[in-house]
């Protein structure tokens, strides 16, 4: 037997669960107080928003909502590593990444509140909307990357998908086509250990999710997804490679879903409290805080002030959401086609007729 081709999947981490530095070869941004504090503030802010959204749902003022608790490092690491003219293709949970791109919290709430206008982002007009059919966004990102490549634009398309979504055939299709065409494509597999009730271990026999990328010849890397320094370093590197025409990357960001899957889910049916408790020890906000405190770059006073500010900001967004009037009935027709065909136009009139009764 001839020995053939070898592969190695590395694991990137700078900061351990307690905020200790395990890899002193820090990237530049991590040596910069302002940048790191800004990242921390964004993480806290998203967490404030998330809590408000869950509370809104509990009081019947929002539909089903997918919490992002525990994913803050992954999401914000991604969102802050893209340029504005890059394309971001989220699944349905990456608010932190989207806020960094200009999407408004009220838009998140409108979407989960049953109003399509939530998808008419204030952020980049070319970013994809939330994508409920799991993993299909991966191919939209690959198609976007193909458009950029064909037009010779130095833009990158980045998609997020879950550990569950890594089993979905669309994920493979995106990986394979990105490799076949050498596309400026980055896939972040956000491995939060659960796909509703199905644990990561039941999704696949693959040792890592990063190695899914080998099936398409992409670069692959596992990353501590609760370590924002590692996330940002990895994403920035992958985005740079992609932008310079060196091809696609699959990053597995390892984190944990600290919340229920959505507000419609009850995770106690299927997972151990012990596991969740242990995960809280590794969560991303606490660890960066420890690091910042240790560096003397942050204080409890600043924390309190910032939380107050963030809550006020989230409250204002909630108010804006709650104040949004429902769309008129014709809205269900007016965005279907650029020009409404005669048969649907007739039905639009009928629908208006029922309104007038």
């Amino acid at each position: 037997m001839e020995s053939g081709v070898r592969f190695e999947i590395d694991y990137l981490q700078y900061m351990d669960a307690d905020g200790g530095i395990v890899n002193p070869d820090l990237p530049d941004f991590a040596r910069d107080r302002t940048q790191l504090v800004d990242l921390y503030k964004e993480m806290l802010k998203v967490r404030c928003f998330d809590a408000k959204a869950v509370a809104l749902q509990r009081t019947g003022k929002l539909g089903t909502y997918a919490s992002c608790l525990g994913h803050e490092a992954a999401h914000i690491g991604i969102g802050t590593s893209l340029q504005i003219d890059d394309v971001f293709a989220p699944s349905y949970r990456e608010y932190g990444a989207q806020f960094a791109r200009g999407v408004k919290p009220r838009e998140v709430l409108m979407y989960w509140g049953g109003d399509e206008r939530g998808n008419d982002f204030s952020g980049p007009a070319h970013d994809f909307a939330w994508c409920v059919p799991i993993a299909t966004q991966c191919l939209h990102a690959a198609g976007s990357a193909l458009a950029f490549k064909l037009r010779g634009e130095a833009r990158v398309a980045l998609a997020c998908v879950g550990d569950g979504g890594s089993s979905k055939t669309d994920t493979y299709a995106a990986i394979n086509s990105a490799g076949a065409y050498g596309l400026p494509f980055v896939l972040c597999i956000i491995n939060n250990q659960w796909a509703i009730s199905v644990p990561r271990t039941a999704q696949t026999g693959a040792k890592t999710l990063a190695q899914k990328g080998l099936a398409g010849g992409l670069e692959c890397l596992q990353v501590d997804g609760n370590d924002i320094i590692a996330v940002k370093a990895a994403v920035a590197h992958a985005v740079k490679r992609a932008r310079h025409g060196h091809g696609g990357t699959v990053l597995e960001l390892i984190t944990y879903r600290l919340s229920d899957h959505t507000t419609a889910d009850d995770a106690r049916r299927y997972r151990d409290d012990e596991q969740v408790k242990a995960a809280w020890q590794r969560e991303p906000v606490k660890r960066l805080k420890s690091y910042l405190l240790a560096q003397g770059w942050w204080s409890e006073d600043e924390e309190t002030a910032w939380i107050t500010e963030s809550n006020a900001w989230a409250d204002a967004e909630v108010d804006a959401y709650l104040a949004t009037a429902v769309q008129p009935v014709e809205a269900m027709f007016d965005y279907l086609y650029a020009e409404l065909p005669h048969d649907v136009a007739e039905q639009r009139e009928q629908a208006l007729g029922w309104e007038k009764r």
Binding site: D115, V132, I134, A135, A195, V198, W354
Partner: protein, 326 residues
């Protein structure tokens, strides 16, 4: 015997048949310990174990393809699609293989499977969780398409679907999963897969519907009765094959027909019923056929969805139009 909901009746039917037939098994996302997102398989893994109640990786192509393989090799899989809007990746294996294994091999192989699909709108769910997409399968030879609308019918039809030696797409109107309870004897009695249910006799107009709209349609019949109009209500239940005879008998009596469905109007399955009326019942009809349906647009997110769906008012108005026309 305690009264149970439609979804409990489904669980009861699956449990009954799994006890009786060791080749029956369940697979899908979250069907195991979680009991399915709607809890249709709740308790089954405890009774039948993880070999017969299988959580799958998160991929509908996988579920459909494995199901075809399992069925071809002597199992009777009941696959679950988590929501209507997620079944599209299954279409390929269903149309190219499930519906064709017997035909392709001249009977050498077959595909006894059930695909259970929580179906339709009206539960304030997120995008892609509210679709009435039965029309995709009604033009496909080799399939059966079933949609129950009461706990008893759910039990009897699901038993029949599991026992049927050919593939059955089993749509479950999720809006009425827990709408009301009814006594459902766990007697293993299946219902036929090709007979409609006449839920209410009437003489002036025939209302044909299926799935969650059965409730609205029965309420419309009540409302019409208050105005002295006697409406016959038919629950299609077995969409494919279509039991047109039952509808025709009714229309011979009433001369009028209103078809009610949740899917968009154009090329919804209501069109087939209206077409058969135009072919076979033209001389029985005293008024044009009416369809009360979803509009030809996507069902909106939930703030607007009730304006999209058929309603008692719309059904009543259509019925009255058929009476005014003649």
């Amino acid at each position: 015997m305690a009264a149970i909901t439609l979804i409990e009746a489904l669980t009861q039917a699956m449990a009954y048949e799994m006890r009786r037939d060791p080749s029956v098994m369940v697979l899908g996302e979250d069907v195991g310990i979680n009991g399915g997102v709607f809890r249709a398989t709740s308790g089954l893994i405890q009774e039948f174990g993880p070999e017969r109640i299988l959580d799958t990786p998160l991929d509908e192509t996988t579920i459909a393809g494995l199901t075809v393989g399992l069925a071809a090799q002597g199992m009777k899989p009941i696959a679950e699609a988590q929501f209507d809007g997620f079944m599209y990746p299954m279409v390929d294996h269903i149309i190219c293989h499930a519906a064709r294994l017997r035909y392709r091999t001249r009977g050498r192989m077959s595909c006894p499977m059930v695909l259970r699909v929580p179906w339709g709108g009206g539960i304030r769910a997120p995008e892609h969780h509210s679709e009435a997409n039965e029309a995709i399968f009604t033009n496909v030879p080799g399939l059966r398409v079933v949609m129950p609308s009461s706990p008893q019918r759910a039990y009897g039809l699901l038993l029949a679907a599991i026992r049927d030696p050919d593939p059955v797409i089993f749509f479950e109107p999720k809006r009425i999963y827990r709408q009301y309870k009814e006594e459902v004897p766990d007697d293993g009695e299946a219902l036929p897969l090709d007979v409609c249910f006449v839920l209410r006799d009437g003489s002036d107009v025939t209302l044909v519907t299926w799935g969650s709209q059965v409730k609205e349609t029965l309420e419309a019949a009540d409302a019409l009765a208050k105005d002295g109009i006697s409406a016959e209500v038919i629950d299609l239940a077995t969409v494919k094959p279509l039991d047109f005879d039952t509808i025709h008998e009714s229309v011979k009596k009433t001369g009028r027909c209103v078809i009610v469905h949740e899917a968009p109007r154009t090329a919804g399955f209501g069109a087939e019923i209206a077409a058969q009326l135009a072919e076979k019942a033209m001389y029985d009809l005293v008024a044009p056929v009416e369809r009360v349906t979803g509009y030809d647009t996507h069902i909106p997110l939930f703030r607007l969805e009730m304006k999209y769906l058929p309603s008692v008012e719309k059904i009543v108005a259509a019925a009255k139009r058929t009476l005014a026309a003649s």
